[in-house]
């Protein structure tokens, strides 16, 4: 059981994807990133279905960065299904979004999000946010050992 630093980035906007990748790169976190461009793809990856059929699902990401506005299944629905499945119920999920709506925060935390981060318009601030996220979730935060064995 090796400790992985895989990050699943769920993001449909290619600009945002590029910028997020850039921010991750700037923080030396880009070597293990999987991008899902809609909610369905994100679930397929996690559960080894659809385009990701046959994937070794024992390898789960250390962190999911989840946008809320997504095609097909939105971020809330993805989160709901993640939490409903025993394999991913404890997976760290950080909502990364443009929205500052109170209701979105309440819904996100209500469905079991671990964090809620608003993407700042200022890219320098965004880079800083991503740095802190990576530091916290991949380095500081301790994950339970059994987490990946439930699959």
């Amino acid at each position: 059981m090796k400790k992985n630093n895989l990050i699943l980035l769920v993001e449909d906007n290619s600009d945002d994807e590029a910028l997020t990748m850039r921010a991750l790169m700037k923080n030396n976190l880009s070597n293990e990133i999987v991008v899902a461009r809609d909610g369905v793809e994100a679930l397929d990856f996690l559960f080894g279905e659809g385009v990701h059929a046959g994937r070794d699902t024992s390898v789960l990401p250390a962190l999911v960065l989840l946008d809320l506005k997504l095609p097909k299944l939105d971020g809330f629905e993805v989160l709901k299904r993640l939490r409903a499945d025993a394999r991913t119920s404890l997976l760290p999920v950080v909502i990364l979004t443009s929205s500052k709506e109170q209701q979105d925060m309440l819904d996100g935390y209500g469905l079991g999000a671990n964090s809620y981060v608003r993407k700042p318009v200022d890219f320098q601030q965004f880079v800083e946010s991503v740095r802190q996220l990576g530091l916290y979730w991949l380095v500081i935060n301790e994950r339970p050992a059994s987490e990946r064995q439930t699959a």
Partner: protein, 850 residues
């Protein structure tokens, strides 16, 4: 015959026998003594006779000696004899006189003695005078000898006689002595015999008595056991009514232990009262002692136990008599009377369950029984009423009114039912009087004729009747006078029976024209054809009322829009008596309502549109927040990427343009956020918090100081500046106003910002003042407009949305906001909030004035 008398008789008999035998012995003894006495006498007499003879022989001897010798000395014996003879003869003569000797014998003897003595003297005289020879001659005549012999014979005869008597007396004495002895022996024997008999008798008697005593003890034991085991209570008393025995049942019933009760006066232990009159009852023991016969079962007594509780009992007592009729005591038997108790309980339950106050009165007018309702109604406790005259419950006027009755309304022995018009008065303990109604019925009981009365307080009914009368009167006046309402009464079939002025005014009929007609004449023909009038009556009959709004006809055939309420009227037996029908002409109201409805409809449409607009705005806001920012991030991100990755190929001008692009995106992002805030202010539920604005302001200033630590700003805030409203929105207000103050004082090296609250015109006015750039009052109006800015962005950055947000929030709090300022002299923003008076603390302004 009693033992004692037997013994007494025995003793007496024995004594008598002994006495008799003693008397016999004594008498016989006396006879014997007499006989011996006689023997002695005979002996003496014999002696005396022989003495006399001897004396005479002495005299003769002397004479002879003298005669022979002539000597004087021989005369001596003679002389002595001569002296003694008379005495000896005299004694014999005395005895003869007493009958102890024959008088003839003594007389002869005396003569013979005299003769002899003469012869002696003669001869001696001869001797002396004639000498011896002559004397011999005289002697030779033998006369002396003859005389002497005669004496001898005589005495011998007499002695013989005495001796014979002696022998006889001796025989007699011996015989009596024998009798005496026999008598004594016989008496002794008889006494012994009697004693022996008496002893036997007494001994037998004692044995019998002992046996009888044993039997008595055995009987007594048996009696005690029997009495003790009798289920009924038994008390035995002596003649003084003191308890000598009490069995277990009696102990249980009376509550006294046997040892406590013994020697107690019976009435103390057996304490009974008449259950109805509560009077003490004569002790049955005393009564039994008095009358001397059985005192039979006496019902209706209640035993008061030692602990004061009561038990209804039956009892009977009987004197204990000896065979000779002597009364020795009384036996009292009693028992709990379960049937009576049950009956009593039933009776009491019946009495208590009666809804009315029940009073049972004896013939003499005393109260025998009451129930709890009576206590409640009259305010007495039961004990105060029992035994009291019934007048206690009657007011004075009623007592006066029935003086002859004595017992007043309770005593009339006829049956009278409640509600038969017997309305009388009662008086409570506190003296208050109240109207009552009484029903009563006589009871024939063993205690005599009683009257049972049910009493009901009819104050409320009387009041109700009076109120009803008044209300009916009022109602009638109202109905008759009501001009705007058609108020009429229908009979069960729908025929009109009453008509008021309003009906005449609205529908045009006079009461003569309309009464007796069917109410369907008010309905348009099509309604009548459809059966509506009868259907409405049916509904009213079924549901109590029927309400309708619809067209009705006037007498002239014109229509009016009416509000109709038909109400079913019931009589006391729930039978339908008819209907009331109230009709109002609501044509005007109908029109008004239609107008209102039209307006409401339009308003509703409007509201729906607004709602739709709001929803659009919501969606719009969401898109704005989400989607408008995304391109901004791209612009900024890629501008920066360009600057970073292509720095070597960009000249300073290009880099400057990129800087401007990035600055513009930041402003745009801020603008978007502010616009969203503004939009959000108008939406959502308003909370009503009590907010410490002072504390809130301090926290905001602290944050501002952190962002600009090099600035020197005095922030003055009053203590206890409190407002009411939505804390999140008020936070926005303070953030904007304090942010502005902070911003517009940024050019001052030492600025001052103040928050305070004042009372003005009864309202709390909060104000935030600064000594910053201020503004020109000419533009004060524009200050709160959206995107309105009075300063160049380059001097003081901003979007021009903040004050618009503040104003909108204040308006949502039913408050007002205004600004006062002058260029370069600072600005003051004042606002009010909706007041919550009860929650409002002391006005802070006043506190400041102190």
């Amino acid at each position: 015959m009693s033992q004692k008398s037997k013994l007494a008789m025995t003793v007496v008999t024995t004594g008598e026998i002994l006495l008799l035998s003693l008397v016999a012995v004594y008498l016989l003894g006396k006879v014997v003594i007499n006989a011996n006495h006689d023997l002695l006498r005979y002996h003496s007499i014999i002696g005396e006779l022989q003495q006399t003879l001897s004396t005479l022989k002495d005299a003769e001897t002397g004479q002879r000696g003298y005669l022979l010798t002539g000597r004087q000395s021989y005369l001596q014996p003679y002389a002595a004899a001569e002296v003694r003879v008379p005495g000896e003869l005299g004694r014999l003569q005395d005895r003869a006189r007493e009958g102890e000797l024959s008088v003839r014998d003594v007389t002869r003897l005396s003569q013979l003695v005299d003769t002899k003595l003469n012869e002696l003297r003669q001869t001696m005289l001869v001797r002396r005078s004639q000498g011896f020879p002559a004397a011999v001659a005289a002697v030779l005549t033998d006369s002396g000898k003859t005389a002497m012999d005669s004496i001898r014979i005589q005495i011998a005869q007499m002695i013989d006689g005495q001796e014979a008597a002696f022998a006889r007396a001796e025989q007699r004495a011996a015989r009596f002595d024998y009798y005496r002895n026999v008598g004594m022996e016989l008496g002794t024997f008889l006494s012994f015999a009697v004693l022996a008999w008496a002893y036997r008798r007494i001994r037998d008697e004692s044995a019998k008595r002992e046996r009888a005593a044993l039997e008595v003890i055995r009987q007594k034991d048996l009696l005690d056991v029997t009495l003790a085991s009798i289920g009924d209570a038994v008390i035995v008393t002596d003649i003084e009514s003191r308890i000598t025995f009490m069995n277990e049942s009696a102990g249980e019933l009376t509550g006294w232990t046997s040892s406590q009760a013994l020697r107690q006066p019976c009435a103390r232990v057996f304490n009974i009262v008449n259950e109805t009159s509560r009077q003490l009852v004569e002790s049955p023991v005393d009564k039994a002692l008095r009358v001397g016969t059985i005192v039979g079962l006496n019902n209706h007594t209640v035993l008061i136990r030692k602990d004061g509780s009561e038990i209804p009992i039956d009892h009977c007592s009987s004197p204990i008599k000896e065979p000779n009729g002597t009364i020795r005591g009384v036996v009292l038997i009693f028992r709990n009377s379960p049937e009576r108790k049950r009956a009593d309980d039933r009776f009491r339950a019946l009495l208590e369950s009666a809804p009315d106050a029940m009073v049972i009165v004896a013939e003499d007018g005393r109260i025998l029984q009451v129930n709890a309702q009576t206590e409640r109604l009259f305010g007495y406790v039961r004990a105060e009423l029992l035994g009291a005259p019934v007048e206690k419950l009657m007011p004075q006027w009623l007592r006066d009114q029935h003086p002859r009755d004595g017992n007043g309304y309770f005593a009339d022995s006829s049956v009278r039912a409640m509600g038969s018009g017997m309305e009388l008065g009662g008086v409570r303990k506190d003296g208050t009087e109240f109207p009552i109604e009484i029903s009563r019925c006589p009871l024939k009981t063993e205690e005599g004729n009683l009257i049972s009365s049910a009493i009901r307080d009819i104050t409320e009914r009387k009041n109700a009747v009076e109120k009803l009368r008044q209300s009916e009167e009022r109602f009638r006046l109202i109905v008759e006078g009501a001009k705007d309402y058609v108020i009429l009464a229908l009979d069960p079939q729908g025929l009109i029976v009453s008509w008021n002025e309003g009906a005449q005014r609205i529908q045009g009929y006079s009461s003569e024209e309309i009464i007796g007609r069917h109410f369907s004449c008010f309905y348009p023909a099509e309604d009548v054809a459809a059966g509506k009038p009868l259907r409405e009556l049916e509904t009213a009959r079924r549901e109590g009322t029927c309400k309708d709004e619809g067209w009705r006809l006037r007498k002239d055939g014109s229509r009016f829009f009416a509000d109709v309420v038909i109400t079913t009227l019931y009589d006391a037996t729930a039978e339908i008596r008819g209907f009331s029908k109230v009709t109002r002409d609501i044509s005007e109201r109908k029109r008004a309502e239609e107008e209102v409805r039209a307006l409401t409809d339009s308003a509703l449409r409007h509201a729906t549109q607004i709602e739709a607009a709001n929803q659009d705005l919501e969606a719009f806001s969401y898109s704005v927040s989400h989607d408008l920012r995304a391109p901004l991030r791209s612009i900024d991100g890629f501008s920066l990427a360009l600057m970073e990755d292509y720095a070597d190929r960009l000249d300073p001008t290009a880099t400057g343009f990129l800087q401007r692009i990035r600055a513009a995106t930041q402003r745009m992002a801020q603008l978007i956020d502010d616009l969203l805030s503004l939009a959000r202010v108008g939406r959502g539920e308003m909370r009503n918090d009590s907010v410490d604005l002072g504390e809130m302001a301090k926290a905001i200033i602290t944050n501002l100081e952190k962002e600009d630590p090099q600035r020197v700003v005095d922030f003055v805030v009053e203590e206890g500046v409190v407002g009411h409203g939505d804390s999140r929105l008020l936070q926005l207000v303070l953030e904007n106003l304090l942010g502005n103050a902070w911003k517009f004082t940024s050019k001052k090296p030492h600025a001052r910002i103040e928050l305070k609250a004042d009372r003005q015109n009864g309202k709390t006015v909060y104000s935030i003042s600064d000594d910053g750039a201020g503004f020109d009052m000419a533009y004060a109006e524009k200050l709160f407009g959206i995107f309105q800015r009075l300063h160049a962005t380059i001097d003081f950055p901003g979007t021009g949305v903040g004050l618009a947000i503040v104003q909108r929030i204040i308006k949502r709090h039913s408050g007002e906001i205004s600004a006062v300022g002058a260029e370069g002299k600072g600005a003051t923003f004042s606002f009010t909030l909706k007041e919550y008076e009860k929650k409002q603390p002391d006005p802070p302004g006043r506190r400041q004035l102190r």
